[in-house]
């Protein structure tokens, strides 16, 4: 570590390199911390988490009971022991609450005045954060599994929605219209993701084992389908040609630069694809246990030198090196299945939520402070004594 600092000081290295080195070191030492807690509001499992992009301060969570909670992640107290408080809730008593389980929540990418939630009650609601009332409600024919708004789009405000219907629907927030449909899948759409690099590229994953990449500006079908054998038709039986996985594809995640796409499937495999050409990079992560019947929400780190993938695997979160495929560690702490996880890029923290109704915060383990001053140390000791 000192070598990085010295190199930065003397100008041998770019400033970015020191930042990446420290981020990587922090991610490698993620641990469950008894100082950091998240308020327990949900009475049923937590399906989805989202941290807003602008400040990284507020986190949304959606649960199986239809409840949506907003937490404040910032630690304003001077003490190390901190519980992330729930600022407001759309609880069961609210008139506008979802009737069934909330599957996906997402903050509006440009400010925190608005967020969108979709649920198994076949609706997608656009909420005003101030009043906690829905400003708009979209009705669908089948359960809504997932939705996503493009994080970089300035010219359009389309929300891509994946439902039980094999057609991907695009809802426009500016006009409220839903006429744009993407046809091509033959099964339920379990996951949709916009690319963080281009505002017109969309990836969708479905139970028919296929992943399509779309350009929404085109009138005809998808750009291409991801093929796990890279066109080598001899490797597999004839029915399984041109599929991304040998089972349902239920998780999609772009890397932060948008150049690669990760997919997970119920064949217990995770694959890394080049998002421009659709080529399978053939990185072998081994067996990534996946028994989820709905979408799986996983995430990739940002700002580290070898990037890391955090995947919920049963009741723990597995951390893999993105390009090497190596299993770095398993984060154990939940009592039941983990459904979602979200990475906080500024502090390199991981929040994960699962069926045990807990949201756990995985915080990098910091070194103990050195004893510089006898006086300040004794003050610190007095403070920590007051907690017990």
């Amino acid at each position: 570590m000192l070598s990085f600092l010295y190199a930065r000081q003397s100008g041998l290295d770019d400033p970015v390199r020191l930042r990446r080195a420290e981020s990587t070191r922090r991610v490698l030492s993620l641990e469950l911390n008894h100082n950091r807690d998240v308020d327990r509001i949900h009475g049923n499992g937590i399906n989805t988490l989202d941290i807003e992009v602008i400040d990284g301060r507020y986190m949304l969570s959606g649960g199986s009971d239809g409840v949506i909670v907003i937490y404040d992640l910032e630690n304003n107290s001077k003490k190390p022991q901190y519980t992330c408080k729930a600022i407001c809730t759309v609880g069961r008593s609210s008139r506008h609450v979802h009737k069934f389980s909330v599957e996906t929540v997402q903050w509006y990418p440009h400010d925190t005045g608005m967020f969108v939630s979709s649920s198994f009650d076949k609706t997608m609601k656009v909420w005003d954060t101030e009043t906690l009332k829905p400003a708009e409600e979209f009705q669908f024919d089948g359960n809504v599994y997932c939705h996503h708004m493009s994080p970089v789009a300035r010219k359009h405000s389309l929300v891509a929605v994946g439902t039980k219907d094999p057609k991907v629907q695009l809802c426009d927030l500016k006009s409220g219209s839903r006429i744009h449909i993407l046809q091509g899948h033959r099964g339920e759409i379990l996951s949709v993701r916009w690319s963080p690099r281009y505002d017109h590229i969309l990836a969708t994953a479905s139970t028919d084992s296929r992943v399509h990449i779309w350009d929404v500006r085109r009138a005809s079908g998808s750009l291409f389908t991801l093929d796990q054998h890279n066109g080598d038709k001899s490797k597999t039986s004839s029915e399984a040609v041109n599929t991304a996985h040998n089972g349902r594809v239920n998780g999609l995640c772009f890397t932060a630069d948008g150049l690669h796409l990760l997919t997970t499937g119920t064949d217990d495999r995770m694959r890394l694809w080049n998002s421009a050409t659709g080529e399978n990079t053939l990185v072998n992560y081994g067996k990534v246990v996946n028994e989820s019947r709905k979408g799986l929400k996983f995430t990739v780190s940002r700002g580290c030198s070898p990037e890391f993938v955090f995947v919920p695997c049963g009741s723990s979160v597995a951390v893999y090196g993105l390009h090497s495929g190596e299993l770095i560690t398993m984060l154990r702490g939940h009592y039941n299945n983990v459904d979602c996880c979200e990475f906080h890029p500024d502090y390199q923290e991981l929040y994960s939520g699962g069926k045990d109704c807990n949201i756990l915060a995985w915080v990098p383990v910091l070194r103990q402070p050195d004893i510089e001053d006898e006086e300040t140390n004794s003050k610190r000791v007095k403070q920590s004594e007051t907690f017990f």
């Binding site: 080195a21 990587t24 490698l28 597999t236 039986s237 053939l282 081994g286 495929g325």
Partner: protein
Amino acid sequence: MNRKRALIADTFCLTKRRRCAADSVTGESQDIRSSLQYLVTLFSRKLFNDSLPPVVLKHQLYSLHNDKTSVDKQVNELRETGELLMFQLGFDSEAFALVFAEDYRAKVLQGEAGRGTLGTVEKFLTKLIPSCSDLSFNKEKMLKEFLFTDSEITQLVKSGVLTVRDAGSWWLSIPNSGKFIKYFIKGRFLTLETHAVVVRVNIWALFLTGRKAVLGMVKKSKYGEILQTELEGRRTTSQVKFQMKYHIHDIIGAELVECIQTTSGTLLRYVDGNVN
């Protein structure tokens, strides 16, 4: 070392690793070929009356080397140069069998010696081995690229080098792998009657019963875990036809058991949720 190219994570000490008492077989060597040769010695030739070339499963290599991606890459390189042949196995879409090309050629020709189909098979092998690394062939390819006639294709299927995949395409396969005969002997304690029941099975069906028996041994141990050295020393039941070490590499590589390094050696713990 070029500073700009070095991975940042390499400079940091990763997770704590306990020193294990016995190192793995290959230690630090990254050579796939030597691992393949070691696994080939574990395959019991005598069991099949020497009619099969020694077969290794691709995921057995994952138990000897840490980096799965580089194992895959090296295996593909060996296939490109024509040293190694890969076959699709019926029981799992991800399980592949590897055979050295010279062994395959020798055994096939040995099996075909004296039969009418020898010429066709030789022609097929010369076309296949140096250049082609496909697992299956469709009719177009056989007729146009390889210039075989329909009757020649029938001869190849009869000799066992090709098996039917669907209408108009064939898998590459190992001859004599379906002809193995399994004897069941049923007897009664009081009388001396014995019935010999003869069943024709595929070699991979035998392999799967052996794998299930070995996994059962791990599962039934106290706490569902057993030291690898202890498992190797156990007597094999009649269900297990292959060598114990062959099966152990298979279950570790297929991630059916979890491998934990302890101070007394490697511990194998049964993983719940297995289909097999």
